[in-house]
């Protein structure tokens, strides 16, 4: 049973019936899903949710599918960790980490949005799915498409490193290397999406795809004991995640699943590709596109589709934004690993580094609850830290050699901010 009323323009409010449309034909604004909350309120209770399997579909009434979900049946409900070690280093009282670095099946937050996109694509009758991606999205579309029995096309810039293609190629999609620069790949994919009858997950079915992000917020609220933290720090690429965290928690509030939603929302981006951070700091509701230059490739979107909306929800929440340099990103990846045993990718490093700055600036008070959003796994971006780690001890095969060498290792408490 569907609880979707249709699609609604985020700019002018015009409504459209559920179909494969993604921009308003009048104002070219982006569309999002509108739900019948009155009906949802009658069926979606804490008790109903808690009785369901621990995956992202336990909130299915708030996701835009008409039939039973078919994809991502093991996705979501990732660990929500009360941090003690990192909290101590940061000097904060109540710190949590929502850890999608171990999401299923491809170790990133993207498995959530792709699960919704593929379930919806099948409802629309698509047999082919596609995306343009240099990393997590490609991995997730490739893996989930093979599980679903769909044909998959993955478009990548021709100069992408071989190592990054393996985690998609292993699932045997059609990988298309486009011999052009970043802008040319973007333009080609938009043209293909408008010509071919394929589900291009983040283009023509983007309104449905993006709704999957809400499950990340739903889980935070449920795993915190049906309440919300005072501060949520999220990485930002296209700007969608933070807007969907806001939408998800607002929906939970309106449905009476949580008592109140007063979280301040913060955006983290890599210095060198921080158009949303810049807009927030300069208080400009117009996002100036940039040419990305950061090691945080998974956040390197210079022209963010949801940039304005991200700006808007952050400002209205009373939150802020911060950017992280490449060296701060690496230090933060190491800090998270050494304190909490979580090996995150560069986007996670950005988020931790930005959180540290926000605490130092007193934008985030040390005595209030904080959630850091970790969205990807460090095994995918090993190249950025490979030369930044303490080298292994090299010893002769005798006890004396071991004892001499191990004295040279740094002792505990070697991390600090």
């Amino acid at each position: 049973m569907s609880y979707v009323l249709g699609l609604r323009c985020r700019e002018c409010g015009r409504e459209y019936p559920t179909s494969v449309v993604f921009v308003c034909e009048y104002c070219f604004g982006s569309l999002e899903i509108a739900y019948d909350y009155t009906r949802i309120k009658k069926v979606l209770t804490r008790k109903a949710i808690e009785s369901r399997p621990k995956d992202m579909w336990r909130y299915k009434e708030l996701l835009p599918i008409d039939k039973a979900p078919t994809d991502g049946l093991n996705t979501g409900f990732t660990p929500f960790i009360r941090s003690h070690n990192l909290a101590k280093v940061l000097g904060v009282k109540e710190l949590y980490i929502k850890d999608d670095s171990v999401n299923y099946p491809t170790l990133s937050f993207k498995d959530r949005v792709v699960a919704v996109a593929l379930s919806k694509a099948k409802e629309f009758g698509f047999h082919t799915v596609a995306c343009a991606s240099t990393g997590n999205l490609a991995n997730s579309v490739a893996a989930n498409a093979t599980i679903a029995g769909l044909r998959a096309f993955i478009f990548i810039p021709a100069d992408l490193e071989a190592g990054k293609i393996i985690a998609s190629s292993i699932y045997n999609p059609t990988v298309v290397k486009v011999e052009g620069n970043y802008d040319e790949v973007n333009r080609l994919c938009s043209e293909i999406a408008s010509k071919y009858k394929w589900a291009f997950v983040n283009i023509n079915i983007r309104p449905f795809y993006a709704e999957g992000s809400k499950t990340y917020a739903f889980e935070i609220a449920e795993q915190m004991g049906w309440r919300v933290p005072k501060h949520i720090v999220a990485p930002s690429a296209g700007g969608s995640l933070v807007t969907k965290i806001k939408k998800g928690l607002q929906e939970f509030t309106d449905l009476g699943l949580i008592d109140k939603f007063d979280s301040k929302l913060y955006v983290a981006q890599g210095k060198g590709c921080a158009p949303i951070v810049t807009a927030i700091k300069e208080d400009s509701d117009i996002i100036k596109p940039v040419k990305p230059k950061t090691i945080a490739k998974s956040l390197a979107i210079g022209n963010p589709a949801d940039g304005y909306y991200a700006y808007d929800v952050v400002k209205k929440s009373g939150g802020w934004a911060e950017e992280a340099t490449d060296s701060e990103i690496i230090d933060a990846i190491k800090l998270l690993a050494e304190t909490e045993g979580i090996f995150t990718e560069t986007a996670g490093g950005v988020t931790v580094a930005a959180t540290i700055k926000l605490i130092k600036q007193k934008k985030i008070p040390k005595d209030e609850s904080i959630v850091i959003c970790i969205t990807g796994n460090g095994l995918k971006t090993q190249e950025v830290i490979v030369n930044k780690l303490v080298k292994p001890l090299k010893i002769k095969p005798n006890l004396h050699s071991f004892e001499e060498e191990q004295k040279k290792r740094p002792t505990s408490d070697h991390y600090s901010i």
Partner: protein, 79 residues
């Protein structure tokens, strides 16, 4: 005839110049503005351009050369 839907971002001096009008006149491209926002530092127009394919290409190149950022309205799709 062909159509393009694009977002134009104007920064600095480009805000003050009638670049969209000049492009339309010079290359015989018909702009149809659907949405716009402007401040004293930055401006943004979402519009549809209508014209011959080669004229659209020339018109967009002219805007870029004049300092306007021309992007697809859906934002970057490589994620």
């Amino acid at each position: 005839m062909a159509k393009r839907i694009v977002k134009l971002t104007f920064v600095g001096e480009a805000i003050k110049k009638p670049l969209t009008f000049r492009m339309a006149k010079k290359f015989d491209v018909m702009p149809n503005i659907r949405r716009a926002r402007v401040t004293d530092k930055i401006g943004e127009i979402v519009l549809e351009l209508d014209g011959k394919e080669k004229d659209l290409e020339k018109g967009i190149k002219y805007l870029i050369k004049s300092g306007v950022v021309v992007e697809p309205i859906g934002g970057d799709v490589i994620e």
